[in-house]
Amino acid sequence: MGKTLAEKIWDDHIVRSAEGEPDLLYIDLHLIHEVTSPQAFDGLRLAGRPVRRADLTIATEDHNTPTLDILKPIADPVSKLQIDTLRSNAKEFGIRLHSLGDADQGVVHVVGPQLGITQPGMTIVCGDSHTSTHGAFGAIAFGIGTSEVEHVLATQTLPSRRPKTMAINVEGTLKTGVSAKDIILAIIAQIGTGGGQGYIIEYRGSAIRALSMEGRMTVCNMSIEAGARAGLIAPDQKTFDYIKGKPHAPQDFESAQSYWQSLYTDADAKFDVEITINADELEPFVTWGTNPGQGLPLNASVPNPAEIKDAEERGAAERALQYMGLVAGTPLKKIAIDTVFLGSCTNGRIEDLRAAASVLEGKKIASTLRMLVVPGSERVRQQAMTEGLDKVFTDAGAEWRNAGCSMCLGMNPDQLAVGERSASTSNRNFEGRQGKGGRTHLVSPLVAAATAIRGTLSSPADL
């Protein structure tokens, strides 16, 4: 019997396997940032262990960094200590670091692909759950905790149990105004936040193949919100073209490409689970609750918990509505928004900014809200400015910031106030995720831009 894509990549990275033990998996690339690494470096120092492969490791500053005045000393002393710690660890262990102000600084999952260092057939890890983003290139990429960060630094391997495989076939053609973000939000609403638990998801089908590389990254990014270990997409000509010409593209491109071309699920391979989604029927999607599975098409209304049969789900919905300050039956499009956040590893790449700018061009954002535009990386910011997108945003009344994770997780000063409501292109609508007491609706860049103009959750078709 043939193998799935995930099985092929897994098997190519087994250093050692023994009955009853997890496979020892070789890691091709380890991405590091300031938040989940300090304790790992401390562990190495305590045990007197070196970093095994600094040349397969790269660090950047993104999670707690400010998006204003980035070249001034960081005001928050605790954040500053964490950044300083990363800088001294990188220096001590000889690890490449892209600091604030550097052309290649940015959200770790935007930086890897733009350097061309994310390639098909790789194993990629990072102490960040959205590492699944890199699966868009046909790589097995997953988030790990700090103990595992230390393990990879010391050994360049990870003991891991082989996950099960799931295929999600998205067949058909997306309507105008429907994007990669809507695909993944709809998938999570269907399979639930635990639906992918224990699986690597392979996204397949005509609607996935039709996506750009950046759209594919958006889909794979949120695999973790469906509970999956990782998500990936078979590489194709679009993947190869995207990598070609990037700084770290293989110098022997032909050898690499001939291997990459073998990376697909064999026709006779069998997935443990297979799901099909009809792309023709998808609409712009938005979340109403406090977990990413609580989402609905934008044309729907806030659900009525009383109509939910499962007691557990009903309780969760009641709690969510209370936290979100929403009344059952309210049309989602009537919900007024205070802050629009455009950015993050989900939707902070150049195509996301272009999409939002195309809606905002020549228009003004509503006087009742603020809009933050935070490019995913310094390179994305530079590219956007070359195209004049910054001017479109600032002319519309939005704030144009420096690169970082920013309001996606509210670790830096970019936060929601208590009770403040956002439409956010990020990935998590958990209670307090964007600031204590803040309320988050997850949306696509197109919906974010239309919402900014109208002041209530909207799609470009409503303008």
Partner: protein, 199 residues
């Protein structure tokens, strides 16, 4: 890592599903560069509510957290495990854990025990009707016992052995350095490197 063989303590019933790691430890607490001192951040938003179970006197000394399904979803932050341990928890029982949280917990010696939701429901009822109910989690026998009830749980032999011996994964892997060397010798030359920097 401390060895885990058997633990006896009282329980804390957390009747919520989808408890994400942002709730367990909000991002603002993640700026610290140590592994300890995270107990103040544990469920800090929910603890503002005087009715929250952690604020009830009868559950203050609990060491076994009994939680709803999909516990630990979201962010990979191991700080969630540290916060639970720093606060005094030794075991978390749930019907379903998110993958990364589960991995982190078993690396760090916080035992996560998976049992059916009916078992969780019964445990919740037992703890709530008598908060002094003694719960014993026996890793050697792979059982959870309280009152006259004993329930088995599954955990693979390898992980169980590692926890019972208190072994550090890195030390175990470094015994296989020869295999890693051999693997590296065969890696294709076209695989990318971060150094030297190319522009």
């Amino acid at each position: 890592m401390e060895k885990f063989i058997k633990h006896t303590g009282t329980g804390v019933p957390l009747r919520r599903s989808n408890v994400d790691t942002d709730q367990i430890i909000p991002a603002v607490y993640l700026k610290r560069v140590t592994r300890s001192g995270f107990e103040d951040g544990l469920f800090s938003a929910w603890r503002l509510d005087p009715e929250f179970v952690f604020n009830k006197q009868e559950f203050k000394s609990g060491t076994v957290l009994v939680a709803g399904p999909e516990f630990g979803t979201g962010s990979s932050r191991e700080h969630a495990v540290w916060a639970l341990q720093n606060y005094g928890f030794k075991v978390v029982i749930s019907s379903r854990f998110a993958d990364i949280f589960r991995n982190n917990s078993l690396k760090g010696g916080l035992l996560t025990v998976i049992v059916g939701q009916a078992v969780v429901d019964a445990l919740w009822d037992a703890i709530e009707s008598d908060p002094t109910t003694s719960i014993t989690v026996d890793l050697e026998a792979r059982t959870v016992s309280y009152n006259a009830i004993t329930v088995s749980f599954e955990l693979d032999d390898y992980t169980r052995w590692r926890l019972m011996e208190g072994l550090d994964d890195i030390g175990l892997t470094l015994k296989h350095t020869d295999s890693i060397d051999a693997f590296e010798a065969k890696r294709p030359a076209y695989k990318p490197k971060t150094l030297p920097i190319r522009v």
